[in-house]
């Protein structure tokens, strides 16, 4: 089995699992909670490392570490409920405290062990091919098993509770009134985010996982307003940035996980500029087009009041437009067949006359 395949498939699994739950984090305005959770699983990982004396990937260790994420959520919500600090501040307080504990524990007890801080930060997806495990008599990369089951779990959760998730995300009040239990669903989602963070920790590290959780869904958010499409797009963006990130990282000989996050950032930038929905450039172009069209209609309506062709000079004087703008409006009107230009000046065609008199053109 080639090392490339192991790494790429691991990355795809990580980004798929993260994007699936990340969509709901973004929609519920909990993107930064994802950040807080992914940081705060560190003490959980250290604790699990200590309890299982070094066996990082065992199931109890995973679950134990994931519960650290739930502790964060609970603490943040408790702090918010006391009314003494706002939600954002509660997050900014809780996760550094937990992360600090984790760092302290690592530097006190695990200085010489495999669990070094670099691995915590960036993860090392390049090691994925070396961690093999026995499954049904086959040697299978451990990361495939861990991330594969997490992806399956997230997918199962979203498919089974799609309706409930959708409702409680967009209208929690209605969900509660209808007898769904938004609280349970909320904690289930948080548990999955924690699990995904812990599972992905070996591959992309505790900090970069936030890029996988938030950036693809945020990119999809810019591209569509429909939830199913957003989920599909988020997974797509995640997979594309994994593939492109891996290729670039190999080419430039740089950190794979970091490059994947950076490429995801580039995807977001592309969506920001070129999204057909509300991209910066598309919006600009649309506004320009609307401006020109409006000017063309205004021009025709004006010309229709004259019983003779009007020279461009006269239009310029009457409207106070600059010549360039008039040219754009004229082009637009000519192309639409509303206007004919002769040597005496501009004059509406019959269709131009028709719509300048009807209350609703065309």
């Amino acid at each position: 089995m080639s090392a490339d395949l192991v790494i790429v498939l691991t990355a795809i699994l990580v980004s798929t699992a993260a994007a699936l739950v990340g969509v709901f984090m973004v929609l519920r305005r909990m993107a930064l909670m994802a950040d807080a959770i992914s940081h705060a699983v560190l003490p959980g990982i250290v604790l699990a490392f200590w309890l299982t004396s070094g066996d990082r990937a065992s199931l109890p260790a995973l679950l134990g570490a994931a519960s650290a994420g739930l502790v964060t959520v609970t603490l943040v919500e408790w702090l918010t409920r006391t009314g003494r600090v706002k939600n954002d501040a509660a997050m900014g307080i809780v996760f550094p405290a937990l992360f600090g504990l984790g760092v302290l524990a690592i530097s006190l007890f695990y200085r010489d062990v495999h669990l070094d801080l670099d691995a915590v930060l960036y993860g090392e997806i390049a090691f994925a091919p070396f961690n093999l495990m026995e499954l049904w008599g086959q040697q299978i990369p451990e990361s495939w098993v861990v991330m594969g089951s997490l992806t399956a779990l997230n997918l199962l959760f979203i498919t089974l509770f799609y309706k409930e998730l959708k409702l409680s995300t967009f209208d929690p009040g209605l969900a509660a009134a209808l007898g769904f239990v938004p609280g349970v669903l909320h904690y289930a989602l948080m548990a999955l985010v924690s699990l995904t963070s812990v599972g992905a920790f070996q591959s992309v590290g505790a900090i970069l996982i936030v890029a996988f959780l938030i950036i693809p869904p945020a990119t999809a958010y810019l591209l569509t307003q429909r939830l199913p499409l957003m989920i599909v797009l988020a997974v797509g963006v995640g997979v594309v940035s994994s593939l492109a990130g891996y290729a670039l990282a190999i080419w430039l000989d740089a950190s794979i996980a970091g490059m994947m996050a950076a490429v995801a950032g580039v995807c977001f930038a592309l969506a920001f500029f070129f999204s057909p929905l509300e991209g910066l450039l598309t919006t600009h172009l649309r506004r320009e087009r609307q401006r020109t069209e409006f000017a063309a209609r205004l021009l025709i309506a004006h010309l229709a009041h004259h019983d003779r062709p009007v020279s461009e000079q006269e239009v310029l004087e009457e409207f106070g437009w600059n010549p360039q703008f008039l040219r754009r409006a004229r082009e637009k009107a000519l192309r639409a067949g509303w206007l004919e230009a002769s040597s005496q000046g501009l004059r509406p065609t019959n269709s131009g006359f028709a719509f300048s008199q009807s209350p609703r053109p065309e």
Partner: protein, 386 residues
Amino acid sequence: MDLWLQIFTDYTLRSVSIGSALLGVIGGALGAFALLRRQGMLGDVLAHAALPGLVIAFMLAGMKVPLTLLIGGGITGWLAAMLVMAVIRNTRLPEDSALGVMLGSFFGLGVVLLTFVQQRGYPDQAGLDKYIFGQAASIITADLVNFVLLGGIAIICVALFYKEFKLISFDPAYAASLGLPVRELSILLTSLTVLAVMVGLQTVGVVLMAAMLIAPAAAARQWTDRLDRMILLSGLFGAVAGVSGAVISATREHLPTGPLIILSISVILLVSLMFAPLRGLVWDWRRTYQNRRRMRLQRLLLDAHLLHNHQNLSAQTLALHRREPLAVAQKQLEELRSLGWAEPWRQGYALTLAGEQKAHQLEQAMRILPRASQAQPLGSIPRETP
């Protein structure tokens, strides 16, 4: 105790303490505004986004000149903040997602650049990643000069624009209606926060910076309702945490300063949350407990009074009336006795004079009238004749 005194004699400890204290003061002062503007995670995003700038500055300068690195970090941090603003203004993406996106992509880029540097084998590159968790122990006098410079700019600006910052933090709409340039002012405030983050990079590092801004401010908020006092207190708490973290980390080997500073400020915050006068949670809990107890005793006394008047008051009757086990009823009668409201009488109990007066008072207060006159027959209500 000796250790605390060493702050004044030991060169390293002194530098570290002064540096951490400066960070506390600057972060605390700007954190007060971040807290009020609900930007609790801004510090986190700015700090993460500083990483690529740090590395680029290092690659350009070719060595670790602290001020250059900090300025580089500051530039990308500032850039990320501006991008967040641009994204929020131009799309419907929620603010937290925009912050998260910038955090992730900038940090990812930073990690990529960091591996670049490591693999290209720049001289003097070791320790560049120390900025991620901070390395307070490496603070020297030259760094302190930088801190004072950066912090001085930040503090002077806050002092100059105090009135404006206060207004845009509490009521941006009103500030706009007065004709203040709200957007420019919030950009300025964010830029000053970047300065605080730059100071923090070397001390607590990228990851823990969020708490250095927000925790002192949240703690200070517990003690006062006035912004000026809050800023001063916040700076003070930050400084105390900084020095404590530095001193504790000096007690043993392998104790990193950054996390200890963060844990110190967390302890200060916890104490403030619990015990601050007026806003302390403990007082809340105590009040709730006392209210519950008072209500329970009042109900009990009223029930006892009813039985005392109409039947005989004993553990059996009380248990029957309140539908609770006999043992509980017995205990409650004992409680009434210890309060001086009831006394043993014949086989059961009777209310004392004080108990009866208290019960009567409660009935008056709660408008519980004697049964006989409670319900007037409908027909007896005098009708108004038109």
